[in-house]
């Protein structure tokens, strides 16, 4: 679906006309991300991160495919093959640092994309499916990133794999057999490394597939916008190209500046030094920590320190960690306020900022050693996390009195909208 005033694709010459009759791919692109897709005119820079996330995926696939040409997925040589890439492969150091920091950049961008969704309630009807697919992408990203981190076969790779696959061991009765089946052994070794490599290569293409569904689902209702007011007339929209291609181009430039500054001047700042020590199953690192983008969830996992009735603490932690993400699937039905944008929801806005702080605190505690006071802080922060989504959000939705909304997007941008006064019939505008 698109708005009735969307530009129509017109083949410019004989070749594109021929192509349009046989396989209308240019028409498809034109309608998806070209001048044929009308987008609200008031999108702010928080709407840049979808395109940036797509860019990051392409970046990861391109660098990753080349790295895979030089990497050897064998526990005996994996570590040295990574050093071979760093030292002997032409521009190998740049590829590897681009890929390792690309993962971080991907998560930064996706977290901002998700928080944009939280603030502007982008998950609300009619866009629930976009949101659900987005959460699926995020879960796939987490799996991919985790398995990618195992591949260099350093100390944190090995022990991270051991801890995370060990989580399955918390499932009663069938947990330990499942864990051994996943690893292909009793502990991470060559079998696990090989299957992680295989899946790490596969999953990005699965992500690409789900992204296509994500964008397809987006094109049915069209993009949301900072006011949360639906598009009414042509004057509320601009064609995606050139308006948002130009804006995304500038956003991409700023993103690349920051990304390259890290890549070339602090490529190991986000990693853990222990991963430059070859994996050693006989020597446990003092603090086993995952990459920074898992820290908030790792803090929730570790927050459960006491058995709860008959449920062991470890199982509670595993349940809570997975629930912390699964709860996002239910967000469209937990937040029942008819108003979308946080701009017009004073009470919701306060809790939103509290949630941001809460997740930052969880992130800090997840990266800190498992000692007091970090454990106690993460317990309180985890508590707020669950209460925010499952108790506060439904409650706020029902008691809050939202501020008045603008009549239309045009009014929100220009301060006035002639169609509001002159014409109540949007089709005529």
């Amino acid at each position: 679906m698109s708005f009735p005033w969307a530009n129509e694709y017109k083949p410019g010459n004989g070749l594109t006309q021929w192509l349009d009759e046989k396989l209308p791919l240019p028409r498809f692109v034109y309608n998806a991300v070209g001048a044929g897709y009308p987008v609200p005119r008031n999108l702010n820079y928080m709407w840049n991160f979808g395109v940036l996330a797509g860019f990051c995926l392409v970046l990861q696939i391109v660098t990753g495919v080349v790295l895979a040409m030089h990497y050897a997925a064998n526990a005996g040589v994996a570590f040295d093959s990574v050093e071979h890439i760093m030292r002997d492969v032409n521009w190998g150091w740049m590829l590897r640092y681009a890929h390792a920091n690309g993962a971080s950049a991907f998560f930064v961008v996706v977290y901002l994309h998700i928080f944009r969704g939280f603030f502007y309630s982008s998950y609300k009807a009619p866009r629930e499916m976009i949101w659900l697919l987005g959460v699926v992408i995020f879960l796939l990203m987490m799996a991919t990133a985790f398995m990618g981190y195992v591949l260099p076969w350093g100390q944190m790779s090995f022990w991270g794999a051991k801890v995370i696959t060990g989580l399955f061991g918390a499932i009663p009765l069938i947990g330990v057999p499942i864990q051994e089946w996943l690893l292909g052994g009793f502990a991470p070794d060559n079998a696990a490394l090989n299957r992680f490599f295989s899946l790490h290569f596969l999953l990005p293409f699965v992500i690409a597939g789900v992204i296509i569904l994500h964008i397809w689902a987006l094109h049915i209702p069209g993009s949301s916008n900072p006011t949360g007011v639906e598009v009414k007339t042509k004057s509320d929209t601009v064609p995606f190209h050139p308006y948002y291609t130009a804006k995304d181009g500038f956003g991409l430039g700023v993103f690349l500046l920051i990304y390259c500054a890290v890549l070339f001047f602090g490529p190991n700042a986000l990693g853990h030094p222990d991963n430059y020590i070859p994996a050693n199953p006989l020597s446990t690192p003092a603090h086993i920590v995952p990459e920074w983008y898992f820290w908030p969830f790792y803090a929730i996992l570790r927050a459960f320190t006491s058995d709860f009735f008959f449920i062991p603490a470890k199982l509670m932690g595993v349940l809570a960690m997975f629930s912390a993400i699964l709860v996002w699937f239910f967000l469209p039905w937990l937040d029942t306020s008819p108003v979308r944008s946080g701009h017009y929801r004073p009470l919701f806005r306060k809790f939103f900022y509290l949630l941001v702080i809460d997740i930052l605190v969880l992130g800090y505690c997840g990266g800190a050693p498992a000692a007091e006071p970090f454990v106690m802080i993460s317990q309180l922060a985890s508590m707020y996390y669950f209460l925010h989504f499952l108790v506060i959000l439904p409650l706020v939705s029902s008691i809050e009195k939202p501020e008045p909304l603008p009549f239309s997007i045009t009014e929100a941008v220009l301060g006035k909208d002639e169609s509001a006064v002159l014409n109540a019939n949007p089709a005529a505008a």
Binding site: L257, T305, S306, E372, L380, M383, L390
Partner: protein, 271 residues
């Protein structure tokens, strides 16, 4: 359904967390975690000012050569450097002939295996060989040093601090933690994570190495030089990386300014 079960699930986790929190708080008050000697006496690395530090820093090849000499004459007795081949030394300023000579004269020989006779033997190293692995029979496991400065926080400074940080165990420590006396065969060093390590101080006397460039070989100087050398072995492409980085950032800055102007131009009639 979601609105009915959602809050219940939320309360379930919240109560479980409160239970954990209560237990944790009770334990923290009744049995506070004991303070350890490591916690009180471990020191963060000293400042180390190397030519390669910072976004504009470049390796000082003269210093890297001195550091290599310290490695060769002191460290190589026990520590491997397996990621480095002799040919790599050209990057720190040695000529082809010098590299060949260094390889040929290297104390640990390359091992050979004759697949026809099954005989094992030795031969001189050649430029394309990696620096041969050292097998150490004494106490402790001397780690490979190739990546040491990237495998520790603030690695270059860490190596320098460790080399210059050997000392008598402080009386204050023994008084407070009588059980933490350095065991026999280990050596006290506050820069090491658990304070005691198997390696005795390797660089002990001025002039232990005779530098050919006339630099005075003080303990401090030798420690600095070998730290600088190990920063190079961990990341030989460091100079290239920063050089590329400035070119990339310069290009991106121009491209971003152009993209901004293009955006402004496109949007001129829409605000």
């Amino acid at each position: 359904m979601v609105r009915l079960f959602g809050p219940l699930v939320g309360l379930f986790f919240a109560v479980a967390l409160l239970w954990s929190f209560g237990n944790g708080a009770y334990t923290a008050i009744t049995e506070p975690a004991p303070v350890t000697a490591e916690h009180e006496f471990h020191l963060h690395p000293k400042e180390l000012d190397l030519a390669s530090n910072g976004a504009f820093g470049r390796f000082d090849k003269q210093q890297l050569q001195r550091g290599f000499q310290v490695y060769k004459e002191v460290c190589a007795t026990c520590h491997s450097l397996k990621q480095i081949a002799f040919r790599d030394l050209k990057a720190i300023g040695y000529s082809d002939a010098e590299v060949k000579a260094i390889a040929k004269q290297w104390a640990t020989k390359a091992t050979t295996f004759n697949p026809v006779t099954g005989d094992r033997g030795e031969r001189d190293n050649i430029a394309s060989d990696r620096i041969p692995t050292v097998y150490y029979a004494g106490q402790g496991v001397p780690p490979d040093l190739s990546l040491m400065t990237k495998a520790r926080h603030d690695g270059g400074a860490y190596v320098y601090s460790l080399l210059t940080g050997y000392q008598e165990q402080p009386a204050e420590l023994l008084k407070k933690f009588p059980d933490s006396k350095t065991p026999d065969g280990l050596h006290y060093n506050p820069y090491f994570a658990n304070l005691n390590l198997a390696m005795p101080a390797p660089i002990t006397t001025d002039g232990q190495v005779t530098y050919s460039d006339g630099t005075k070989a003080s303990v401090d100087q030798m420690s600095k030089d070998v730290s600088a050398f190990l920063v190079w072995t961990a990341e030989p492409k460091l100079d290239k990386r920063k050089q590329t980085g400035w070119a990339v950032l310069g290009f991106l800055l121009m491209a971003t300014v152009l993209a901004y102007l293009a955006k402004k131009n496109v949007w001129a009639d829409k605000h």
